[in-house]
């Protein structure tokens, strides 16, 4: 056989043989039984062969590229740890941003890993199966590289020590937890719109900006490196998210209203989740990258709108919530920091008041809101601190039934009025932070009544330390809840000023830089 006489295969043709040609129409078991999750959401797919592979990566190439990236990444992580790189960050307050990151994000990545594994099995076409499987394995990479990068911080600083236990229990961590578990309990098509499109494509830059650029700006080579190393994976995930939405829209016009509803829901869910990111950018990074408002304007109002314009030819509209978010962008980071500062007794990270310089920066970035609404609050808190009466909120907040964030947001047109919605469903009252969260509930009440709301659970007595007896004389409920969370009182929580982290960092930095 003469090798040269063979027909030369194009890249696309060859990739098709390596993937979609592997599948067949089953006959011993009906296809609908082999792929049982394809119909119940109402999405109609007529021809899986119309799927355009968003990238063409065979396994041998995948192993090769990914192993190269892993080798480089772990070499840097090792060097960073050996060299006590953590002492080179701008200011030990920065490390608190990493505590939030570790408590929240690897679990999200892990959920994405398992969710994409389900899609990698359940999507009926081989092309999307393979693309989803690659994302599934990438996502466990991200969870692990994050854990491994931050492992060294855990050795020297408080608040990191039981991240997984806390992720399943601590009040504010139910916000990211419920977001991803919501997506993972959806049908396959909604999952991929939620995570692959709304989260990965529309909002990823807004997550990367504070954490990864924030790490770069604050001398944290360790965290910066896993972010940059994940960047090419993310690019693949974004093209998958976009391909999926176009494929679904092109397959049947009846898909449009379903998809539009999912985009509306998940854009809003995603933006609410990003509240903590907004706060991180404006309050927790000693060296700021940009303000939350600026990031929102660049990455959503400009880039996001360009994307929606591109999808307009399919009939996709900008989500209604965009109008409210535009009004809220001047406020949410300040409202969130206010909430965490006053809840500083029940957080696994330290809080502080912005310095005078930092408040001036905030005034310049938020000329329409900071001086008017928020500076006076922080000045009041400062005054109280000076008097030795640091204010801690001693009660539990009411939570929104959908996003699970405490009722801390204000009405779009009145920043002095808490935004509060309430409805009755089957004899019970439910509370919401916004019209958008209320609408999400109303569409699927049977799902959202199952929410595990930490404040409710605590009041119902479900979050006390194992073996605790709430009827015993002298029972301290707050202490028992902190024990249930494994939160180490006085080391993990309270003010940064005077914390063990602050003292250790100063002493170690001195040890490393003087004789």
């Amino acid at each position: 056989m003469d090798m040269n006489a063979k027909k030369k295969l194009g890249l696309k043709e060859k990739y098709a043989l390596m993937t979609r040609n592997l599948g067949w129409e089953t006959t011993y078991e009906p296809m609908d039984k082999v792929f049982p999750q394809m119909d119940y959401e109402g999405i109609r797919i007529h021809d899986w062969d119309k799927w355009e592979d968003p990238f063409r990566l065979t396994m041998d190439a995948y192993w090769k590229y990914q192993a190269e990236k892993e080798k480089k990444l772990y070499a840097i992580i090792d060097a960073y740890a050996q060299n006590n790189g953590h002492l080179n960050v701008t200011d030990a307050r920065y490390i608190n941003a990493l505590k939030i990151f570790l408590s929240a994000v690897p679990s999200l990545e892990y959920n994405a890993h398992r969710g994409f594994a389900r899609l990698g099995r359940e999507m009926r076409g081989v092309g999307p199966q393979v693309a989803c499987q690659m994302q599934a394995i990438d996502e466990i990479r991200h969870a692990q590289t994050q854990i491994h990068s931050l492992s060294n911080y855990n050795k020297f600083y408080n608040g990191f020590h039981d991240w997984k236990h806390m992720n399943d229990r601590v009040w504010y961590l139910s916000v990211p937890k419920s977001f991803f578990e919501d997506a993972c309990t959806c049908g396959p098509f909604e999952f991929i719109i939620a995570i692959g499109f709304s989260f990965e494509y529309v909002l990823t830059n807004l997550v990367f900006m504070p954490f990864i650029s924030g790490a770069a700006y604050n001398g944290d080579l360790g965290a910066m490196t896993f972010g940059f190393s994940a960047q090419s994976d993310e690019a693949r995930h974004m093209t998958l998210g976009l391909e999926v939405i176009k494929f679904m829209l092109e397959q049947d016009p009846a898909n449009l209203p379903i998809i539009q509803r999912w985009i509306d829901k998940w854009t809003w869910r995603g933006v609410r989740l990003l509240t903590i990111v907004a706060m991180l950018m404006d309050y927790m990074l000693p060296k700021r990258v940009m303000s939350w408002k600026e990031a929102w304007e660049v990455y959503f109002e400009e880039n996001g709108m360009a994307l929606f314009n591109d999808l307009a030819r399919y009939g996709i509209k900008v989500p209604d919530c965009a109008a409210l978010i535009k009004k809220e962008k001047d406020h949410i980071s300040h409202q969130a920091w206010n909430a965490f500062y006053t809840a500083g007794m029940i957080t696994n990270f330290h809080t502080w008041l912005p310095s005078e310089d930092e408040m001036n920066w905030l005034s310049s970035k938020y000329p329409d809101s900071f001086d008017k609404y928020y500076r006076p609050r922080f000045e009041y808190y400062r005054q109280r601190e000076k008097e030795g009466k640091r204010f801690y909120n001693k009660t539990l907040p009411m939570l929104c039934q959908v996003c699970q964030i405490p009722m801390l947001f204000t009405e779009g047109d009145d920043p002095t009025l808490i935004s509060y919605r309430q409805i009755e469903h089957k004899g019970d009252k439910y509370h919401f932070c916004s019209d958008h969260c209320q609408h999400i509930f109303e569409h699927e009440p049977e799902k959202y009544v199952e929410a595990w709301l930490p404040a409710h659970q605590i009041y119902q007595g479900n979050c006390f330390a194992e073996g605790a007896d709430p009827t015993a004389p002298g029972f301290d409920p707050l202490k028992s809840v902190l024990d249930y969370w494994h939160l180490d009182f006085g080391r993990d929580n309270l003010d940064f000023e005077g914390s063990e982290d602050q003292k250790n960092f100063a002493a170690w930095r001195q040890q490393a830089t003087t004789n």
């Binding site: 003469d2 040609n21 041998d60 398992r114 854990i147 049908g187 595990w452 250790n504």
Partner: protein, 331 residues
């Protein structure tokens, strides 16, 4: 002799995360495998019932009849987390690439006796679809299984089987061309000798108990198929009859099987050792699927080995039974 290098040393407050320390029994340095695996799956206060399986929670140990006190009792003897996994496979693919390159640049495919090349293609090309079925099945085990300790290596196994399907595709293209892949697919869906195996694969695609799926796919089917096809057929028969180049380009598969069997064995052993009920369950599943797999593979053995198929296949089945016995399965 060693050079004494010093770095500024600071005494750490702790050596690992608390959930890892609880598993290790003390706060001591943990490996990356341990930190990247132990308890990583969310497990408490799960929020909503899956719309695709309202009978269960999102992560639910009750999706299998196997019962474990602790699902992190499973250990991957290879200690694979993503980094070590991809680095190991990158080395193997480099070796495989060198073999393909060696055979291609020297035109060795053309030196094969035509009937031998034909027989190799007849056996190997339809196996692309078997590997693809294994890819879907392991992806399902990752999606629906419980505990990162066992679901993580299932995802790696899934991607490996996709890699194998792709190596088999390249072998088809190397020994023949794209039309051979189509012909192989026609035999897979239409030729009587492949229908038993196709029925087996399709039956596994609808299995709901993910641990039974693990037994049917990773223990039983692979446990017979790989020794039969790669050890007995490719490396013994084909290589001896002048087909060493085929053996070279197949080398990934038997090496992979030897490596992954260590993990499959460790997993079965752990589950069986947990309780007599588990051991009985696993033994029942293994016996039932072994019977079906033997029937399904007999015609493939004949296709590969002709009149020697009977005794050779018997040694493969005997070896499998001995392996199962060592794992604590009373067959």
């Amino acid at each position: 002799m060693q050079i004494d290098l010093r770095t500024v040393s600071i005494k750490p407050l702790r050596h690992t995360f608390d959930h890892v320390a609880r598993r290790l029994g003390a706060d001591k340095p943990a490996s990356r495998y341990q930190e990247g695996t132990f308890d990583v799956q969310p497990s408490d206060n799960l929020q909503y019932r899956p719309t695709w399986d309202p009978e269960h929670e999102l992560y639910d140990p009750a999706r299998t009849q196997v019962v474990m006190k602790d699902w992190y009792a499973f250990k991957d003897p290879r200690q694979y987390y993503y980094g070590t996994y991809t680095m190991a496979r990158a080395r193997q693919q480099e070796a495989a690439e060198a073999s393909f390159d060696f055979v291609e640049t020297r035109g060795l495919a053309a030196t094969l006796p035509p009937d031998l090349s034909r027989r190799a293609l007849d056996v190997l090309v339809p196996l692309r679809h078997v590997a693809y079925g294994a890819n879907l099945n392991n992806t399902a085990m990752c999606a629906y299984g419980y505990g990162t300790a066992i679901t993580q290596p299932c995802m790696y196994q899934a991607m490996d089987q996709l890699g194998i399907a792709q190596y088999l595709t390249r072998i088809g293209l190397l020994l023949a061309d794209a039309s051979e892949l189509e012909a192989g697919k026609s035999r897979w869906v239409g030729d009587g000798r492949w229908q038993g195996l196709r029925r087996y694969v399709e039956n596994t695609l609808v299995l709901k108990d993910w641990f039974e799926l693990f037994v049917a796919q990773n223990l039983v089917l692979d446990g017979l198929l790989f020794p039969l096809v790669y050890d007995q057929f490719i490396d013994k028969r084909v290589a001896n009859e002048g087909g060493a180049p085929v053996s070279m380009v197949c080398a990934f598969m038997p090496d992979w099987f030897a490596e992954t069997s260590r993990w499959v064995d460790a997993s079965i052993k752990t589950a069986a050792a947990e309780s007599p009920q588990n051991a009985q369950l696993l033994a029942d599943w293994t016996s039932a699927w072994l019977l079906r797999a033997t029937d399904a593979l007999e015609p493939v053995a004949t296709l590969a080995l002709g009149e020697d198929a009977g005794p050779v296949f018997e040694t493969v089945v005997d070896a499998f039974k001995a392996r199962a016995g060592k794992l604590g399965l009373p067959l």
